[in-house]
Each structure stands twice: as C-alpha cells, then as structure tokens.
Point group: C2
Chain length 602, copies 2
C-alpha cells in the first residue's frame, strides 16, 4: 500500500484581493465569504465585492492541510436542529475501490468521521425546513452571499435587463431564499455529511452558477491530481464540482475530495455501481445501486445524477438519431432496460431513492440520459419524452421533500435553445435547470468550450440556473489542469453575461469598475478586476513588459498616437468646455430633435 501523502494544492490570495466574511443576523455564527478586489487609490472608488466559491484556499490566514480536511463549520448547525443522529455507517468493501490491488490502492483519508442520518424517517432537507417555515443557517448564508454587500450600494443599482419571467429581487432576504427553496425553484445542495460546505443556491432567481467536472478514468488517474483540480476549479470560480471518476479507487479519491471541498460535490452513482459489477451493465441491480447511494451519501456527496427519466418506451425513439444515446448513464440504463426488457430499477425504485435522499439531504440532479449528442438530434421526441418524465419525477421527489434540479443538453443549435428552456420550465414546474452547454454546432472539436459557451450564455439568460462547463478536450480526451481553468473561465463568462442580460441588480458593478479602470489607464486595476488577472497581465506584458508601461496611457495595440481612449480624454475636456453642448446633449437624450449648433464660419 502506498504511504499516506498529503497532496499540495494551489493556495494564496488572488491579486489585490482580500477574503472578507460577513456575519448573519438570524444566525450570527455564520461567516459568509466574499472577495474584495481593491483598486488604485487614485480611482477614489471602493473595493469591488465579488462572489467567491474558492473556499479557505485563497485566504492566507487559513491553515490548509489536505490530510486533515477543511473546518467542519456546519456540524453545529446540523446538530442544533436535532433531527439527525450519528451512526456507524456502512463498512468499506473491496468493490468500493474497484477491487484495486493493495499496491495500487489510494490511501484512505486519514481522519474518519461517523456519518449522520435523519432520525425516524424524517426529511432533513432544506426544502423540508423551508416548507416548515424554518430559515436555516444555510438559507441565511445564501442570502448574504448572493447580495454581495448590495445593501451598501442600493442607490447605484439601476435594473436593466430581460429576465424572461424570472423573479429576481432587488435584494435577497433570507426569507426570499426560504420561499424559493420551499417552492422548489431553488436548491441548496448540502448533504448533512458534508459539513465543510459553504452553502450556495442554484435557482433561476439567483446568480447563474457553473459546475466543473473532474475525475479519473480507467485510462488515467491520481488522487493528488484530482484534489488539486477541484481546488484549482473553485479558485477560478466553479460553484460546484462533479467527481465523474470511473476507474479504480473511486471511494478513497472521493473521500479526499469531499473532505477538502467547500463547494457542493456531485456524482453519478451509476458509474461506481457499474465498476462494482465489473462494467457489465446487465448485471446492475437495485441492491447494488442502493448500496452505492448509501455509501456516497455517508461520504457527503451533495447531489446525485439519477437517470430515472429514461424509460423503456423512450429507447426506440433514439433508433434513427444521428448520434444515438450519448449520455454515459443513459446508455448504461438503456442497455439494462433492453436486456431485461423492463423499466429501469431507477424508475421502479424512485420513491425508495427519495427516502435515501431525504435522510441525508442529497439533492436530485435528474439526469438527461437521452440528451442530444448532435445538433441533428436536438429537441427531438426522445429528448422531450424523457423531459416530461423528469417533470413527473420532480413532483414525486417534491412530495418526499427532496430537493431537485433537472439536467439538460447537450448539442442544440441557437434557434432551439429557447424552446428547450421554456419546455423545461413548463413541464418541471420551475425546478432549476442544469445544462451542459449546450453546444451550438458540432464542427469544432478542440473548441467546444466556445461552441458551448455561446449556448450556455444564452440558456443561462433564458433561465438555466447552473451551467455545466465543457472544456477544450470535450469529445477528445480527459481535461488537464489547464483545460479545467479554460473551461471554468469560459463558463464564468457565460454565467456573467447571462446575469447581465437578466438584469441581475449587482452584476454590472464589476463591468463598470473594470471599464472605468480601462478608460483611466489603470492597467493594474484592469488586470485585477478581470476573471483571470494572470492571463490578462501576461498578454499585456508580452509586448510592453516594463513596469512603467503599467502607467502608460496607451498599449501596444494602437501605440500612443492612435490611442482612442487617450484622445477621448482630451475630447472630454474640450467637449465639457463647449458652452451649452452638454446641456443640449441632455435635451437630445430627452427626446428632443437633433441638436444642430449654429455653424461658425471658419
């Protein structure tokens, strides 16, 4: 067996950034993290507060020790509710790590914690508490987090956007969060066995979130790499992380990830279940699947992708597709259904699954096993038939006080994205939509972060609550650390563009601060306020590396003579000096006729 090594991960603050924490009012003990990016004193502007899922890793005062895990901040919150109990939990089986030989076994996480579960069949979910009128610490945490200190900027916030029927408030209160969760319009994925979590919400009336996928495969694998990928992904802005590992050591790697994750961790339990039966889909059974759910729920997985919407009768609808069934989970279940010629155990045992989910507060991410894998298959009968079933399952899950979101495609050309979003809202009762892309064309492998970034921005605008990233390696290989970063930044762009277009009250503050920095040649501020300061700085420095150029009133694009912004400053002074011009411009803006100054004869 390998000796226990504690992997190193990326730590340290982002440039010009301070991690700050805000306390609760209802729950004074909560400490809600945000990032404040300071700007040059010459700007005379306050620091810009941005949403920050990076956890303690970016906090220089936090002592990080991967072998110990993050502080278990929710432990007291959960215990205080009095609805759960600690118990011994399931014994680790050789199958859990794919029967890996001792010399290849990823070491166990050094500390073990007894798992908790609901007492006496209670639902210990955020939706159950919300419906009971209880504002949990998680809900207040989310409210403070979403506001980003907006209360101090109230007079600056002009709403401007088109939200397609979303109900984004000017100001998020804890009560608003409770109500959204109670209605099922938002979820707070927060397994009671993942107390290290900093709670966040996924819902159409909150900021658009993004997910990054990590995970080893049968071809390549390392625990240290995957833990660092998780830390790296959240450093750049991933709001949740899915561990899609399919190789050996799945259980132990997941333990290391969850114990060090401040963000919700999602999985597709079917992948591990399939490993347990040696990769033979037909050998899967409810018993093995159920056991896997318990195993992962005890570890603290916050949401499970469950492909229960794929029904036997849907499968023939895929026969004439250009790309058949492209969801791994979907294809595995379809194979099982056809072999046994019966409905899947996921569908048959859906209510049993609900019982497990509510005992740990694992959220459903109802999988789209029949998502289109090509633009030719977008919005087809198979996809929409499954979506209707997902709507039925959503209502069942809600009856059991379970939190639910719905997974979506896939490959969808631009003109079919809105239809897909509207259909989801309609048939799934506004449960949050969580989409992969969608990719708007099939012809650019190697650039599918971009083909899908286009679709992601649009569907995020139309109402999708969380966007699952796509990396440049999509369709071609497993993403490495650089690909993870590119995928995350691309999806932060898509999510932010969506927030802007929806008219999210505070979204534009960062754009405006960066644009003012740009116009005032505060290069350092421009870098620091950007999504990726390191890249912005290095691109600038390729042609103008000297420190003095950071103060220069031009850049290498146009050079000093052609700098429009430099000229624009001269103009601004001149234009302001022009007696009456600004006033006349005001009249023009108010709808008057075009202002025609009397021409002076030269």
């Amino acid at each position: 067996m390998t000796t226990t090594t504690s992997p190193t991960v990326t730590t340290g603050p982002m440039p010009a950034s301070a991690k700050v924490y805000r306390s609760g009012v209802i729950h004074p003990q909560i400490r809600v993290p945000m990032r404040e990016i300071s700007v040059h004193p010459s700007a005379g502007e306050p620091a810009v507060t941005v949403y920050d899922p990076s956890g303690p890793y970016a906090d220089p005062t936090a002592g990080i020790a991967i072998g110990r895990g993050l502080p278990r901040l929710r432990e007291t919150w959960i215990a205080a509710l009095g609805d759960t109990e600690a118990y011994d939990g399931r014994d680790l089986q050789p199958a859990d790590n794919g029967f890996v030989s001792a010399d290849r076994l990823t070491p166990k996480f050094p500390l073990s914690h007894r798992p908790r579960r609901a007492i006496g069949g209670k639902a210990v979910t955020q939706i159950a508490y919300a419906r009971a009128g209880i504002v949990t610490p998680e809900m207040e945490f989310v409210a403070i987090r979403e506001n980003l200190g907006r209360e101090m900027l109230k007079d600056k916030l002009a709403r401007d956007g088109e939200s397609f029927g979303a109900a984004i408030p000017d100001f998020v209160t804890a009560e608003f969060v409770r109500d959204e969760v109670a209605r099922g319009r938002a979820i707070i994925p927060a397994n009671i066995n993942h107390p290290e979590l900093e709670p966040m919400a996924i819902g159409r009336n909150f900021l658009v979130k993004i997910n990054a996928n990590i995970g080893n495969s049968a071809v390549t694998s390392s625990m240290a790499e995957e833990v660092e990928k998780m830390v790296w992904a959240i450093r750049w802005g991933a709001d949740t992380v899915m561990d899609l590992s399919t190789g050996r050591n799945i259980h132990n790697i997941r333990d290391w990830i969850i114990r060090n994750a401040p963000v919700p961790i999602g999985t597709v339990p079917l992948y591990q279940a399939l490993e347990k039966v040696g990769g033979v889909a037909e050998d899967l059974s409810w018993e093995i699947f159920r056991d896997t759910l318990i195993e992962q729920a005890e570890q603290g997985v916050d949401y499970f992708t469950i492909h229960a919407g794929l029904r036997l009768r849907h499968i023939p609808l895929t026969v004439d597709r250009v790309t058949g069934i492209v969801s791994r989970g979907g294809s595995i279940m379809a194979k099982w259904c056809l072999h046994h010629h019966r409905e899947s155990f996921l569908h048959e045992h859906f209510e049993d699954i609900c019982q497990i989910m509510r005992a740990y507060d694992v959220s459903f991410s109802l999988g789209d096993g029949l998502r289109p894998g090509s633009v030719a298959d977008a919005n087809d009968a198979a996809q929409f038939a499954e979506l209707e079933t997902l709507g039925e399952l959503t209502r069942i899950a809600w009856q059991h006080d379970c939190q639910v979101m719905i997974e979506g495609p896939g490959h969808v050309p631009m003109h079919k994205i809105r239809e897909n979003m509207d259909k989801q809202l309609e048939v799934c009762g506004e449960a949050p939509f969580y989409t992969l892309g969608p990719l708007t064309t099939d012809i650019a492998p190697g650039y599918d972060h971009i083909t899908s970034g286009i679709g992601a921005a649009m569907i995020g605008w139309f109402g999708t609550a969380m966007l699952c990233y796509v990396t440049p390696k999509e369709h071609l290989g497993l993403p490495d650390r650089d690909d993870v970063k590119t995928g995350v930044i691309t999806y932060k762009i898509a999510a932010h563009a969506a927030d802007l277009a929806k008219g999210h009250p505070a979204a534009k503050l960062r754009d405006d601060a960066l644009s003012r920095a740009r116009f005032e040649f505060r290069w350092e501020d421009q870098f620091n306020l950007s999504l990726d300061p390191d890249t912005a700085r290095s691109f600038h420095d390729q042609t103008l590396p000297k420190e003095a150029h950071k103060l220069a009133h031009f850049c290498s694009m146009c050079g000093p003579k052609f700098c429009s912004m430099k000229i624009s400053h001269d103009i601004r002074d001149a234009a302001r000096a022009e007696a009456g011009m600004a006033e006349m411009a005001g009249k023009y803006r108010d709808g008057g006729d075009l202002y025609m100054p009397v021409q002076e004869e030269p």
Copy 2:
C-alpha cells in the same frame, strides 16, 4: 535599403482535403474554388464540400511566389466591360510610408501594375451593373460559391431555422445575387485594381462571413509577418482581411498584402492620413485624406472604413459615457471636429468620397466612431444618433451607385443585441451590418474572443452579414499568429452557429457528417471535418497517441467500459430487433400518446 526578400507563407492542403473548382454557365471562364473533405470509404458517404477562402495557398498545384503575387484572374473580366482605363497613377510620396528612413524602408513590391479607373465619371461598381441588369462574372462566382454544390443534394436539404425576416433562398442563382446587390442588401467588395480577388458576398441572405484584422503598429512591425498573418488567417477561414497598420511602411506593406490576397482587403484610410500629418489629428485635411483614398484605391483596397457618420452634434452625447469614444477613427475625427468646431471633412465631402469609391468600386464600410466601449455605454444616444446618420449616408452612397456596409459595435450585453440589429436594419435600409463582436461583458480581458464570440453568434443569427473577429489579445496587445488563428476559429464557430440557426440550407451538412463520424468512431474523419483538424488531433493524441487508437471504439474521456456511443451501438441493434418498438416509436413521433409496452413479468 533592405534587399528584396520574398517572405515565405504557409502553404499546402488541409488534411484529407482537395481544392476543387467549379465553372460558370453565364461566364464559363470563372473557376470557383471549394474544398472537398473526403471521408473514410467505410462511411459510404460523399466528400463534404465546404466554403474555402484560403485561395491558391492550399492548392498544391498552384505555384506560389509572394514576390510575383497571385494570378490576376479578374483582369480580363474588368477589361471586357470596357468601362475602365489604365493610367499612370499617383506618384509614391515619402509620406506614404511615414517618412521612414531608407535603412528601415520595407522594399517595394517587385512588380508594378498600372492602376485602372472608370472612364468619364462612370460608376464601375457591382451595384451599378446590378441595377443595370448585368450579371457580372463576380455575381455568378458568388452564386456558385455560396451554393457549395447544393444542387446535387437538393433532396437532403430540410430547412429548419429562424431567420428573423431574412430571405435566404433554397438555391442561390446568379440572378438572386444580382438582385440582392442591386437592392443594396449585399455587397461584393471588389476593387477593379485588385484583380487577384476571388469574389465573395457580404449580405444577410448569404452565409455569414468573418473578417480578421492584421497590421503593424508603431510598436511592432514586419512586412513578412503581416503577409503570413493574412495567408494564415484565410487558411483558417477569414473571408476578408483588414490591414489596420498604423506605423511606418504602410504603403509598401499594403502592396505586398494586396498582391497576394485572394480575399477582399479593407483599410481605415484615416490611419494612414494621420501618419502623413505626423499624428496630429487637427492637421488632417480633406486634401490629405482625398489623396490617401486615391493612393489606396489605386493599390486595390476593396473597402474603406469611413467615419463620416460622426457629427459635431453627437460628441457631447459621449461626455458622460463610462468609456468615452473607443473607436480610433472616431476619436481622431471627434478631436478634429472639436478643434475646428465644424463638421468633419468626411461628412462635408461625403459625395466627393462617393465619386472616388464608384470610380474604382471601393465599397464603403461606414465606420461606427461612437460604438460603445463598455456594456454601460451600449445602445446609448451617441451610438444610435450616429447610426441614424449612417442610414442617411447609406442612401446618399446608393444614389451614387456605391456599395455600402455599416459597421457596428462593440460592447453590448445580450439583451440589447437584438435591439441594435433591428435598429440597423430599420435605419440603414437593410444595408449589410458588419459588427465587431459584440462583447457581452467587460470583465474578461484575455478571453475577449469568447466574450465577443457569444455576441457575434447571436448578432449573426439576428442578421449581421459579417463578423469582425476579436482575438484573445484584445484590449491588451497586438495579436500574434496564434492569436489570429484563435480569433478566426472562434469566429468561424460564431458564423456557422448563426448559419445553422438562420436555417441556411446547407449549413448542417458538415455538422451531420462530423457527428456521424463521431458516432461511428471514425476518428480521422472527425478530425478532418473539424474547423481545426490539427488541434483536434493533437488533443486526442495527448492521451491516446497510438495509431491503433484512431480506430478504437472509445477515447480517454470515458475509457472502453463507459463509452456511451459504443453502448449505443449495441442498443441500436437490440432496439431494432425489438419487434414493433420502432413502429410504435414512429406512432409516438406522429403525435400519439406515449407507447406503453405490455410489461412482461420477469
């Protein structure tokens, strides 16, 4: 003086691709280039024909010699019309190359050709011929080029899309092209002094085109680099190239570029004019500008950005903007206007400019000097006031039988893009729109190919005819060769996504061919059919480098056990075997109720 060196450029075919040429019917002498991408014989499919602006460089049978220039194929077409004459042309002035010293002078292009111009004030423009009912060789060339051999695939073409009022025909005839050009809804930028050009059209009812900007600056410069950037940009799909040089040697570098360019070359003549007056905007004059227009028209520039829409009365509208005036041309002219307190010479002499444009068939690209440089300034009074003026100028240019397109922004959040497009269509009488991006957020310098690719795809869908690329270096530095490629591929994605969404009849053929290759594990075909085969292949090979893996029925993403496509093939066979299932699926697709097979008891 530097000795004459002939720079080397990238040549050779794209993978699995053959350059083919189609002849005309009205004009049998024309040879319209296309690229045919062949697929593996096992597919039993024809080669996929794609639009190909790369010119002879990708044709292994073409002898490329940069010092000689490309074949002057349009010379006989132009001469045959009998409306033009060769003349001695303007003498080269030291100012034309920015008074560069002899030791730094870029050598003259080795061959010189006498320029041509219209005889007796005639309009020798494509729109003039179109209005006279003449189908020029350029028009038939464009018709064949746009169809991409569609006549052979007629029965395969199902229209599916939303074109927002565009009038895209099933099949493009030469007469359709003539009519679109006559109406001003499309332009064929084709200076009579650029006979090396392979004609192309820019219009809402044709394929969406993309432009790549190249050009040296005061900070960095080399003729060989710029020529290679042009060849490199068209290799990856740029339909036109703008030479935005602002440093010394402008004239000579441009000569090398145009003589070797099979695509239209655009410029902003103001940049060279400003160099001629030592960079002092106030010293610009109509005489210097006019002289520059003649100089560049004689060289063969196909379209000029002219910022004639920026009027004195618009300038005060920019005073309260977050980023003022960000267009270089706009800021230069605004400075001139304020200094002299009069309307710009571009506006005052607009009809004089028309006279020059029609004598050489240089197309107008009416510049948006007041485009927004931040999302805060999008669709504001300044931008729209200028756009209205551009509409007025469009009508004047049309009266002079000049071809016109309109430049657009800039930075625009998603919810304001449609408004911008609709406004342009309305006030500019459907003259083609040519937009930079737009960038949908300001917060991602270093990734503005992506922030803008999102906006470009959307505005292309809504009706923009040509998309001006943005590279990762935007706002930070001058793009290098890699940045040019990234920008071009990103914009090919945006343009193609737009064509798909508009329902362009043939756009989906390439997607479907690639998706079939993907589903059938024809890895080589998947690479070859992609926009960037080199990158797709190298990403795949990073984890599975062996040749055998090019035939493997899985990849490193999921490994063999989890390959959904592999499983999907098994399913397809099983599902097809299921008696009645496919038939019932058919019934479902036809609107019947959900098919519920009788459950066999296991």
